[in-house]
């Protein structure tokens, strides 16, 4: 392992970071172009999510297709109202996904509770209360084009990520205690 560590520091010491930068761009290209989706459809937005995969919209053009198993997916698309009863299941499925992973909040209900924001006892006011959301898509429900745009936006976001030690993961600012530990 020591050799690997030395190799890593040697790579970082190259001034312009040519090697690390090109590795980054290669890995980001791979990650961004194969965002397999975990379809977390709980309500009406799921209809639009389903429509996005089939003809006319065809998510597979961008390399995104739904896999039922969280272990094989990269991006969780939460489409639909999340109730407090559903919240542990969603969180658990998110935790079962292997790193690196991203979340797209699709529709007003997942963004902030939507029409259930007031006067409801059962609906989570936005999934960013318990998940690190990367992309928000507004709409009730959003059109598949909007979701497609969200995937392309996520690809843009991934392009700026890096292997490097200074990268701050989204989950770190979400959970302050984990940051204090590190």
């Amino acid at each position: 392992m020591a050799l690997v560590d030395r190799l890593g520091s040697a790579l970082e010491s190259i001034p312009s970071g040519i090697i690390l930068a090109s590795l980054d761009s290669l890995s980001n290209w791979a990650k961004g172009h194969s965002l397999w989706a975990m379809p977390m459809g709980t309500a009406c937005c799921a209809m639009e999510l389903i429509a996005a995969s089939f003809n006319k919209f065809d998510f597979d053009r961008h390399g995104t297709f739904p896999r039922p198993d969280p272990r094989h997916t990269d991006v969780m698309i939460v489409a639909g109202t999340i109730t407090y009863k559903m919240q542990p299941a969603v969180q658990r499925l998110y935790e079962q996904m292997p790193d690196p992973k991203w979340v797209i909040a699709m529709g007003n209900c997942t963004v902030n509770g939507g029409i259930f924001h007031y006067d409801t006892y059962s609906v989570v006011r936005g999934i960013d209360t318990f998940l690190p959301v990367d992309i928000y898509v507004a709409g009730c429900p959003p059109r598949p084009e909007a979701l497609q745009d969200a995937v392309l936006q996520l690809r843009e976001k991934i392009r700026t990520e890096s292997f490097g030690p200074n990268t701050e993961r989204a989950v770190d600012w979400l959970l302050p205690e984990s940051r204090e530990r590190s």
Partner: protein, 316 residues
């Protein structure tokens, strides 16, 4: 020792062949599936999406390698290799060109039937060691299915052995005549269907049925380990197509020299495409339908084929 070195070289070659076959096969499957569903399929990654599977593979290598907390760790890590190695070995007896098979053995036909059947052990190990109910059910289904479909597959190939009077693939190819296609057409259909069942592809993919078992026996595998399972599946598909195109359809016997190889490749591609076509056209079978299909239709059909061939063999 030269045999050992040769085996090593051919092992590497078969591994590379399977990797390329998997890369190309996944892309091809997604394109064909797209056309069947009136979509386009991968399009934006490289020209016509040809780089799509390369991006997928790179991503899978970079993913976190999860070993479940309760899993039997060593068995869990061993299982993908136990699935992959027999598939890689089965490539070695395929007659690739006139007078050439990497492993030219007198029991080649039986070897091709026996060795890929070992990969079911890896599936059982993977499903069991995940300590996951879905995975265990998927593995048990895979075992039942593969044992059942081995029999009609072997019987279908046996009719060719009766015709050729040898179980050395090169002898079968040498004795091959175009009339065999007519004589063994039912056997070829049985072989083709049983091969689809052997590699767990739709409509026989109940071991990994997504709607009931999440992903079946590899439900808890992520990243590169999961992709080894997928590579074994596509490798098995390509191996079955290569073998079927060679011994049933004549392969390189149609044209002399390099033209024959091209015909062989074209026939193989046609069989692979037919497998993809079948998968995306037919709905998944139920477990009991699958078993009764194997035992009530496929096996009797293969036996009838064998008897018919044995009767007409002297005139062919």
């Amino acid at each position: 020792m030269s045999g050992f070195v040769g085996g090593l070289i051919w092992g590497l070659a078969a591994g590379t062949l399977i990797a390329i076959a998997a890369l190309f096969g996944v892309w091809w499957e997604r394109k064909v599936a797209g056309r069947i569903q009136m979509r386009i399929g991968p399009q934006t990654t490289g020209p016509a999406g040809i780089l799509q599977t390369i991006a997928d593979t790179l991503k899978l290598i970079l993913k976190e390698d999860i070993t479940p907390d309760q899993a039997d760790v060593r068995v869990f890590r061993l299982a993908p290799l136990v699935v992959f190695v027999p598939v890689a070995m089965s490539f070695s007896v395929i007659p690739f060109a006139a007078g050439f098979a990497p492993l030219d053995t007198s029991v080649g036909m039986l070897f091709f039937l026996a060795v890929p059947a070992l990969s079911v052990i890896g599936i059982l190990l993977g499903g069991w060691s995940s300590r996951n109910t879905y995975a265990t059910i998927g593995a048990i289904r895979a075992a039942a299915q593969m044992i059942s479909y081995e029999l009609p597959r072997a019987l279908a190939v046996l009719s060719l052995v009766v015709l050729a009077g040898s179980i050395r693939p090169l002898d079968v190819m040498a004795a091959w005549s175009p009339w065999w296609i007519i004589a063994t057409a039912p056997g070829f259909i049985v072989y083709f269907i049983a091969s689809i069942a052997e590699v767990n592809r739709g409509p026989f993919d109940i071991p990994e049925a997504e709607s009931e078992l999440v992903a079946g026996y590899f439900a808890d595998y992520s990243g590169i380990r999961w992709s080894i399972f997928m590579m074994a599946e596509y490798g098995g598909m390509v191996a079955a197509s290569l073998f079927g195109a060679a011994v049933f359809l004549g392969g390189w016997n149609w044209l002399p020299g390099i033209g024959g190889i091209l015909v062989f490749v074209a026939l193989t591609l046609a069989l692979v495409t037919a497998m993809v076509w079948v998968k995306w056209t037919y709905p998944r079978l139920r477990a009991d339908q699958l078993m009764s299909f194997a035992w009530k239709i496929m096996t009797p059909a293969a036996i009838v084929q064998l008897v018919v061939v044995a009767v007409i063999a002297p005139w062919l």
